[in-house]
């Protein structure tokens, strides 16, 4: 069965001027669907933060970091998830942060749950999309957590990477902030073989 194919439009950079006016309070807070919505009551609240850098470790200013993750039980409120009806109604799973003059970003969220798909286990993880001036295509990576070494070792996405690169996608403990655990995930867009964050073709 063949049908007419429509060709997707080409991707372009966001340029340096993604509007600050797009950002509203709460955009980087996944623990609430919106700034005036009730907070989720499920899962462990955490802070995810890090620094986005380009060539020579220089900060990426006005870069955009978008986060997408399952709820604390590993479910998505999306019809692709067979258990979507059980997903946390107070958790959208998406947030957007904006890097400051030092390239720093942060999110408030919860530790996602892992899930079973087919005969494989996905370890708890969050997908990250980065956009910035000069990046003609958004780049994609996936963040894992240091708490789940065993699950990480069996994760089919992490397994795509050579073993030596896998630790670069595992966030590190970063103390506590506002009474919750914090994790640090620095993202090096261009840093050469020894330091660059691994990114995925999508």
């Amino acid at each position: 069965m063949t049908s007419t194919r429509f060709t997707p439009l080409s991707q372009h950079t966001i340029g340096p001027f993604f509007p600050a006016t797009f950002f509203q309070e709460g955009d980087n807070d996944l623990t609430r669907v919106s700034a005036d919505a009730p907070p989720t009551e499920r899962g462990e609240r955490i802070v995810l933060r890090g620094r986005l850098t380009k060539l020579n470790g220089a900060p990426v200013v006005n870069g955009i970091v978008e986060l997408w993750q399952a709820d604390s039980a590993g479910r998505f409120r999306h019809p692709e998830d067979p258990a979507w009806q059980e997903a946390d109604p107070n958790f959208l799973g998406w947030g957007r942060a904006w890097t400051d003059a030092d390239g720093q970003y942060s999110f408030h969220t919860v530790i996602p749950g892992g899930y079973v798909e087919g005969n494989q286990w996905r370890a708890p993880h969050a997908n990250i999309l980065i956009m910035a001036a000069g990046l003609m295509r958004p780049v994609h990576t996936t963040l894992f957590f240091p708490d789940f070494a065993e699950a990480n070792a069996a994760d089919p996405v992490l397994a795509v990477l050579p073993a030596a690169l896998r630790p670069r996608l595992v966030a590190v403990d970063d103390g506590r902030t506002d009474g919750v655990r914090a994790f640090r995930f620095d993202i090096r867009l261009r840093a050469g073989r020894d330091e660059e964050t691994p990114f995925f073709e999508v």
Binding site: S10, W68, R77, R122
Partner: protein, 238 residues
């Protein structure tokens, strides 16, 4: 379920559609772009899903950039941009969040990082956000943006263009692109537009001018359909 549907739903990007980097005269395409090869990522549930009710987080009610407060209209040629968000089957993507931002009529952005000596318009901010309807339609009232020089050693000019960010039903269908205006001579020299190798793909980034009477009330009309990656992309509403 996914074993049979995934490969068909998200084919690789067709040849010639993705921009080629680095772009000469645009040093940031070198400084920001990863130097190492990208790794293929299996499309699991996380990649095939996305925020289903994103409008709850991102309010989608800003469709008029030209009139930000009653009785005060931005300077420049008033235009109307409309189109549909479609998947690769040509089916409408319902409930997609469409963000648009642009320079003012003098080619300057209202942004702290744009310090060019061109006038700011007190009646123009330059960004809007809407949600597509049941037919995948979106529309904005705005003004035609001006061209502006790129501040690099061998200066070149960006043609008038509008930035689009579209959040569809999944991570894989996320699209960020730019829209150009038909028959602008600067299009032929733009290093960003021309980083797309396939001339037909470049043409798809250029809006179509509508017959002047079509929108009415003094808004010059343009149509721009946006195709996202993926087939069968509009999930059934839970």
């Amino acid at each position: 379920m996914n074993e049979s549907t995934t490969p068909r739903r998200f084919d690789p990007w067709p040849a010639g559609v993705q921009p080629q980097v680095p772009i000469e005269g645009y040093p940031s395409t070198w400084d920001f772009t990863p130097s190492q090869s990208l790794f293929p990522r299996p499309a699991t549930r996380t990649e095939l899903t996305g925020p289903f009710e994103l409008w709850r987080k991102l309010p989608c009610s800003e469709n008029n950039l030209a009139v930000v407060s009653p009785g005060r209209t931005a300077q420049g040629q008033l235009i109307h941009i409309e189109g549909r968000i479609l998947d690769e089957d040509g089916k409408p993507v319902r409930g997609a969040v469409v963000e648009l931002w642009q320079a003012n009529a003098a080619g300057r952005y209202r942004h702290a990082l744009d310090q060019r000596a061109a006038p700011l318009d007190p009646d123009f901010i330059g960004n809007g956000r809407v949600r597509t309807d049941e037919e995948g339609r979106y529309a904005f009232f705005t003004i035609k943006p001006g061209a502006y020089p790129v501040p690099v050693k061998d200066t070149w000019w960006r043609p008038p263009h509008v930035h689009f960010s579209v959040l569809g039903p999944s991570t894989l269908s996320r699209l960020v692109t730019q829209m150009y205006f038909p028959a602008d001579p600067l299009n032929d020299w733009d290093r960003i537009l021309n980083s797309v190798p396939d001339p037909v793909a470049r043409t798809r980034l250029i809006a179509r001018q509508l017959p002047p009477a079509e929108v009415g009330d003094g808004w010059l009309g343009f149509r721009h359909d946006i195709v996202l990656r993926g087939r069968n992309a509009t999930p059934v509403t839970p």
